[in-house]
Amino acid sequence: MSLPRYLEELQQQIRGHAEAYGLDCFEIRFEVLSYDAINMVAAYGGFPTRYPHWRFGMEYEQLKRTYEYGLAKIYEMVINNDPCYAYLLEGNSLVDQKIVMAHVYAHCDFFKNNLFFRDTNRKMMNEMANHATRVRRYMAKLGADEVEGFIDTCLSLENLIDIHAPHIRRRPPAPPAEEQEDAEARPAVEVPRLRVGRKYLDPFINPADYMEKQKQRLEDEHKRAQRFPPEPERDVLGFLMEHAPLRPWQRDVLAIVREEAYYFAPQGQTKIMNEGWATYWHAKIMTQRVLDDAEVIDFADHHSGTVGGRPGALNPYKIGLELYRHIEHKWDTGRFGKEYAECQDLELKRRWDRHLGLGRDKIFEVRRLHNDVTFIDEFLDLDFCLQQKLFGYDFNPKSENWEISTRDFQAVKQKLLFQLTNFGQPLIEVTDANHMNRGELVLHHRHEGVDLRGDWAQATLEALHRVWTRPVQVETVVDGKPTLLRYDGREHQAEKIG
């Protein structure tokens, strides 16, 4: 559906403002959708077409229900694509549409310029449609149940990717073929010979063909004894794709799930930054340029809805917005660098202002170079923590309650950073794909103080076993003790190690 005239004019106007502020966006295509259609698109993660899978139906039902009960409303949805697609809800008031447009322009700027999105596929819209076609074709050939069941299995493993992989080189490039052969030839193994008194008896006691066989066997053993993979592999999905005994269609489905996981990963890595950026700009564009006098109250109402929160949940919109403003203020007034850091006079610090006006440039730089982890690590300081009244909470087993456990700046920051590292997912890597020389797969969980959720870990091991087909295990820590969780296709074992 093409955009109605009045919205098109609005878009031109807001684009003008966005560009004047220095936002640099892909072309944006807005579409107006009914709430039913927008729920569908939201269930599909923003895309109009995805491969058939029940979880989209589940998502849809839940969105529909919360909407019908009036509990939640989808405000904005925008996908990282060139051109960028964004959706407006039919029947929203004009001021809502304005906010959404301004918000979307900032998101789009972020997608285009943030470093961590550099390697995402900007034609993902098409790619997703291709994925759908491929999966449908497999379903037509093999039956929906089988394919969908395998997708379930893959989705269980979907978070086992290496989020840094697109940006660094984990493995040295494979050596040229000749060298590889050399390397394999080198470990020449001596086959022990039986001692022979008379030289002429040697061919009979140590027959040549037997010796040759033995040599072959030893070499094979030696090769097998070498660890595989040589280095721990974080991209578990990629590893499975290359080495698990999969049929071609299964490999393709796994590739689809993996590609989509990598596509969505940067959005998980930059949630706070991205939402904060969009909120910062919609507030700026709206209040400084676009709002009519009559719309101020509505705007304030909706904006506070976006940045409002509950004590136990950190609102990424709010925290991101405040942190950008905090940075802008610091760089405008020159509150950074050695001199400021070493200043002991609190009164002087409070009134510190060098009139540098570098704030705007700084936040543009921040949005280009950082992700949530580095953003928080670098810029969340004591002042900010106090201003925003941040606290850490924990489960108190004695009272069976969630309680505020700390107001200490360092502790809060550590907690927040931990939540964000690997976007809140445990770090798990393949360490051995031929355990005990029996083709068993060993994963290692880099334990950072928090255990895996037990029942889900078991269910995930079952999924892993369906892909690998040989026994699978994960080394982790349970209640402070190193533990090996193992599944061999029939039963689960938990074994204390070390």
Binding site: D36, Y317, F391, I404, F423, L452, W456
Partner: protein
């Protein structure tokens, strides 16, 4: 409007159905399985349907929040669970998926799983009900019921007939005579009515657990019978040494301490049937739950007499469930068994614990009466 998502949604519903079916027996022995119960919808928590991942256990992680409060301030449960927007590091946590399912669908699953036969209602051909449906069209009516499309079609027909319709300027203006209105037609529906009468022993020996068993059992009986009859009434009788009719709330929550005279309840039941449901058009299902400790043999004899002469001729089936209490299981079921052979219109079952609810339902409803 059909959408692409419909196929995925249907697929999801299919899986939900499968999961409910798979876990039905477990659901049936656990009362708290229902999150919310609306008029004709129940929500069932189905955590099994989520896709598992390697994930942090929630209770060790904790998190970061924002707002007032000292160290040690308790956060309300609702505040901690991750919300939709808090995906950055905010674990969705222990959020349990709840799915809605209609009572009708649930009954269907129940029927399939326990292989329950459909009930052949009695008196079906005599009872008729009037039902109006807005399917007709009238020439007169209120503007709020004007049928837009039909009205314009009439106007177009008229204009074409008169030759006043201009293809170049296709303007159709209805006049008064063109207007058409929706109206109702009366349909006569054959309807069969049914009534369930729950009778429960509330004497001192029936504890909370026993009542819970009765509550769960009655939910499933309601569900099934509701799916079999259009109109279903439910009445409740409690008794200890004397019987009285009560409402649902009281039924499940009263606690008496007296002795047990079952005949008092059967007498009330017989009166109720004779008074309100005597026309022979009703399908009547009394279910009696007790721990079987009747006051005296004399009273038991009176019970059997009442059943034989007043109750059994009028009802489809009489169900007796003997719930085992901490004081053991009483004599009453044995007396009933002696009096009535196995496949008569009296169905007797013992319910030693929650696990036996499934069997109880099967024997109560398995006869298709």
């Amino acid at each position: 409007m059909t959408q692409k998502i419909d196929a995925d949604h249907a697929r999801f519903r299919h899986i939900v159905r499968g999961k409910i079916k798979q876990n039905l027996k477990r659901f049936m022995s656990q009362g708290e399985i229902f999150g919310k119960k609306g008029k004709d919808v129940v929500s069932i928590p189905l955590p099994q349907i989520q896709i598992p991942h390697f994930r942090y256990g929630h209770k060790q992680t904790g998190g970061v929040g924002q707002g007032d409060g000292e160290v040690g301030t308790v956060l309300e449960p609702g505040q901690v669970e991750g919300d939709g927007t808090g995906k950055a590091g905010q674990d969705p946590g222990e959020h349990v998926l709840e799915v809605d399912i209609t009572i009708a669908e649930l009954a269907e699953i129940l029927g399939e799983e326990l292989a329950l036969p459909r009930i052949e209602p009695r008196g079906q051909h005599k009872l008729e009900a009037e039902k109006s449906r807005y399917t007709g069209i009238h020439r007169a009516g209120p503007e709020s019921l004007r049928h837009f499309k039909r009205t314009y079609r009439e106007a177009l027909k008229r204009q074409i007939a008169l030759g006043s319709y201009d293809l170049e300027r296709p303007v159709v203006v209805p006049i008064r005579e063109d207007k058409r209105y929706r109206s109702w037609k009366v349909a006569w529906l054959r309807e069969s009515n049914a009534v369930i009468v729950y009778i429960m022993d509330v004497s001192g020996s029936m504890g909370d657990e026993q009542k819970e068993i009765v509550r769960i059992t009655s939910f499933w009986l309601d569900t099934w019978l509701q799916s079999q009859y259009q109109g279903l009434e439910v009445r409740y009788i409690t008794h200890d040494a004397s019987a009285r009719e009560v409402d649902r709330e009281t039924f499940f929550h009263t606690r008496e301490s007296g002795g047990t005279m079952i005949s008092s309840a059967y007498k009330l039941l017989a009166d109720m049937i004779a008074g309100d449901y005597g026309s022979g058009e009703w399908n009547i299902y009394p279910f009696h739950f007790s721990d079987g400790d009747n006051w005296s043999n004399e009273d038991t004899r009176l019970c059997l007499e009442l059943l034989q002469s007043k109750v059994l001729p009028a009802v489809n089936q009489f169900g007796y469930g003997q719930v085992e209490s901490p004081y053991g299981s009483g004599q009453f079921i044995k007396d009933l068994r002696q009096a009535y052979p196995e496949d008569g219109h009296v169905v007797m079952t013992e319910i030693p614990g929650r696990d036996a609810i499934v069997e109880c339902i099967r024997s109560f409803l398995g006869k298709g009466r």
